[in-house]
Amino acid sequence: MSQSYRLESGGKIDRAKPLSFTFNGKSYGGYQGDTLASALIANGVKLVGRSFKYHRPRGFLSAGSDEPNAVVQLEEGAYTDPNTRATVVELYDGLKAASQNCWPSVNHDVGEINSLFARFLPAGFYYKTFMWPPKLWMWYEERIRHAAGMGVSPMESDPDKYENLYTHCDVLIAGGGPAGLAAALTAGRTGARVIIADEQDQMGGALLSSHDEIDGKPAMVWVEETLAELATMPEVRILPRTTVTGYYDYNWLTALEKVTDHKGPGNGGDSVRQRFWKIRAKQVVLATGAIERPLVFAENDRPGIMMASAVRTYINRYGVLPGKEILVFANNDSGYLTAIDAIKAGARVYVADVRANPQGDLVKQAEALGVKIYRNTAITGTRGRKAVTGAEVMELNEDGTDVVGSHYSIDCDIIAMAGGWNPTVHLFSQSRGKLRWDEAATMFVPKEGVAINPSRSVGCCNGTMNLGAVLAEGLGAGVRAARDAGFGDGSAPEAPTATIVAEEPVRAMWEVPCHGHKKKFHEFQNDSTSADLQLATREGMLSVEHTKRYTTTGMGTDQGKTSNVTGLGIMAAAQNRGIPAVGTTTFRPPYTPQAFGAITGQNRRELFEQNRTTSMQPWHESHGAVFEDVGDWKRPWYFPKPGESMHDAVQRECKATRDGVGIMDASTLGKIDIQGPDSLQLLEMLYTNAWAKLGIGRCRYGVMLNEHGMIFDDGVTTRLGENHFHMTTTTGGAARVMGWLEEWLQTEWPDMQVYCTSVTEQWAVATISGPRARALLSELTDIDLDVDSLPFMGMTEGNVAGVPARVYRISFTGEVAFEINVPQAHGLHLWETLMALGEKYDICPYGTETMHVLRAEKGFIIVGQDTDGTCTPMDVGMDWIVSKKKEDFLGKRSFSRSDNIKGNRKELVGLLTEDPKIVLPEGAHIAAETDPKPAMGKYTKAAGHVTSSYMTPNITGPDGEGRSIALAVLRNGQSRHGETITVPLMDGRMVKALVTEPIFFDKEGERTRG
């Protein structure tokens, strides 16, 4: 029989549904209902992986999400999942898994050599060595990096889909054991909205592995009945396979639901693989149970050394008896439950109990069944290389600090550790709850929560271990949570009767004594031993946080679920103080690791972020535009004709616009409609220039400053009526400016009578520019386009292409230009009409690049390119735009700060390279000196940098062809026109350029006004 450890009957597996799978390339069989771990154990596999540091052989420790050892690489290729706990993987047909952190194989791992040197690799050894010779560190580091890590990252894109969603409820219950189910039942009965989530595939918690009775019937009957009643409640949602991973403020929790993982890769159909829940709960009930603690004894990490409760789970839930000869090592009564179930299942069973003379009910029951009990006994060593084959035991002295007498051997293939219980207080602690150390029970239990995160802990996670009491607590918490959320009166039904066993107290023994220097692990994944903890103490790492980081205790994929408290006990002893004085480390989300893809959910690829486009987009796309990202917009960058490079296209577009007519989509500019009697007053405060004299139907350019006096946006604002303005902003600045206006209006000047409404998307804007623009426009409107009727910086309304439009004579190119605004829905119509009628004018669509070249020819700045948040209007040569008369406007006061008036500021200039064919790279810096061959690094004070730089066909060099132009900021630049400066390039070239005024084309502006 291949599954030689499988019991003939029993367990919640479906023997009628056999499954096959492979581990490390070898095929095995299991059943529906198995986990990968239970199936491997059924097949006698004990060695699963290698530990992090020493590459020691490791097997299965637990049967749940607390597993530190049996961590495997699940599946291959695009579906591979590193670091997957075999104990939570539901078996499916065809599953493939492999050991990690070993080479060439888990059986023969070269890394095991580390184990031989383990003595030289105590905690933190790497801080003490690898320093000489210094050059070699990077070589050592590469070795260290390769030795570390565990699983292997997927190297292909994830084929699976995920989703995340928000939900709200009155009562969220984390954990579906008896406590959680009881709470759900009573909360649900009040009609409250209840969510109960459990990380396992079935509800029932510990009852799935026990023989407990409720009301005289098997406890699972109660579970079934409870689930059946819950299923009738429309407001109750039951979420199996769902881990509550994070508890954030204001009772906001995250949960990860594994929707199709259990079906195997690619078998989920169209469904998402995982669903990430973001839950806002009025009340939370934590019913997360407890995690059993290992005992820290000599050589306690061999495969086959497991948690006692896990052994019991494998027997009762999965029908697997993990060993034939089981030695239970206990410091409390719960190990006897395992002993009893194991002997009943046919194993030979021994118990070594560190307590002097245990005589409780369970002890007696076990003894009666033939379990051999060694009282006052410690395990002092184990045998077996890849699987445990036996243990050495010795008697303890009176206070349990040493072992005495002679040792004797027990042959066994499983050692089941029952070291007591740690309430699963992770979520409670994440909610900022404080813990209390219960000395008698030797456990941390919830003490007090905080007001913003109302929760109740019930059952084992509250330190309540007895099933009857667990149920009573759950039932009570459910109704009270519902009441506090506004449902029911809070009175709880009587709890059913349940199995009660009288238990004797646990004997805390954080480190089990032995003779000699044998390794005793408290942290299995990261190979941290009690000696490491003691070393940390010796080295002065007295804070628990230091010890954690020095020894890496609790820093593995299990985050120390089994190791942390035992570690504290050992530290406390080493430091000669109590566990509460040592304290815990901080519990942080997530409870168990969660896939990044699930957190992202749908927000990926096309839905990662919006692609904002204008109504003219269909035309741009069908005419080959290349797009540029500007904020979240996609804007046409240039329109290459077949075979054209970007350079070719831009030169052509630049020329065509100056010579004839160009058209560009300017719809993305921010637009704000401003109305109200105090609108003018608002503008006077926002802009540096004066606005009072602006006539109706007239436009004016303005720059906006922050209170630091630095430019942060610019644009043209038009007076539409006495108290009505239309403001434009930069594309990227639209939201910022709108927010700026609202903030001042609402918080500083609430008495100003002004309303601002964003109209960015209301208007589609086509700008036509160039000497033939007027002729073209006159073909599709009866608006009088004559210079006198519609002068430069004028605006008029009328029909264009048959739709109502506003036409602004604003120009960013220095040509006669019309910005035609129509309602967005007509934008494409307007554009297509212009293109059709423009054909005979050789109309040329151009993108943002050409716009940038043309405006640079005119010396118009781009905020954010020629300015950077450290530029005043004076710095960019716009003194003219700063009113000297206005008493106040935002930012004005900052101009007179001492640094602003000390001189030597950087100022905008033009640059013309000596060689007209060299286009200076934007960002290149200007040397402060004129040394013809300066060395790199010499110019610790550069004198400025190039902000904009282009080749243009519109300004000719000596050869009659186009040349390069640039804008730059240069210290004292305004007084340096005519000087030649040097620009050292990163490729080593030194480029000479002439400083000019920052305007290269049509200096008088005649073309614009024409």
Partner: protein, 96 residues
């Protein structure tokens, strides 16, 4: 995830709001008369209180109104919400 009570829309997720920093900072009425130090303090200097903090929020993805709140910056518990222009409520534990 903080829950913030917009005085108009009620409890909403933090994600709908823009934080506005310290509240009740009035812009000097006559900036021109301010010394460099006074002006610098107005623009840049903040109480940065550890404890009870009077601050501004804006319901950016909702009704777009600014309002004020009192929050303990250690526990992150909101102690009060009030509209712009209303006087700051006195809350328990505020020593200032």
């Amino acid at each position: 995830m903080l829950t913030i009570k917009c005085p108009w829309c009620g409890d909403r997720d933090l994600t709908e709001f823009a934080a506005g920093g310290e509240g009740h900072i009035a812009r000097p009425l006559e900036p021109a008369t301010q010394s460099d130090a006074e002006w610098g303090d107005y623009i840049y200097t903040r109480k940065n209180t550890k404890g009870i903090h009077y601050e501004r929020w804006m319901h950016a993805q909702g009704c777009r109104r600014w309002f004020n709140a009192v929050r303990d910056t250690v526990s992150d518990e909101f102690l009060a919400f009030y509209k712009t222009g209303e006087p700051a409520p006195k809350v328990e534990g505020d020593g200032s």
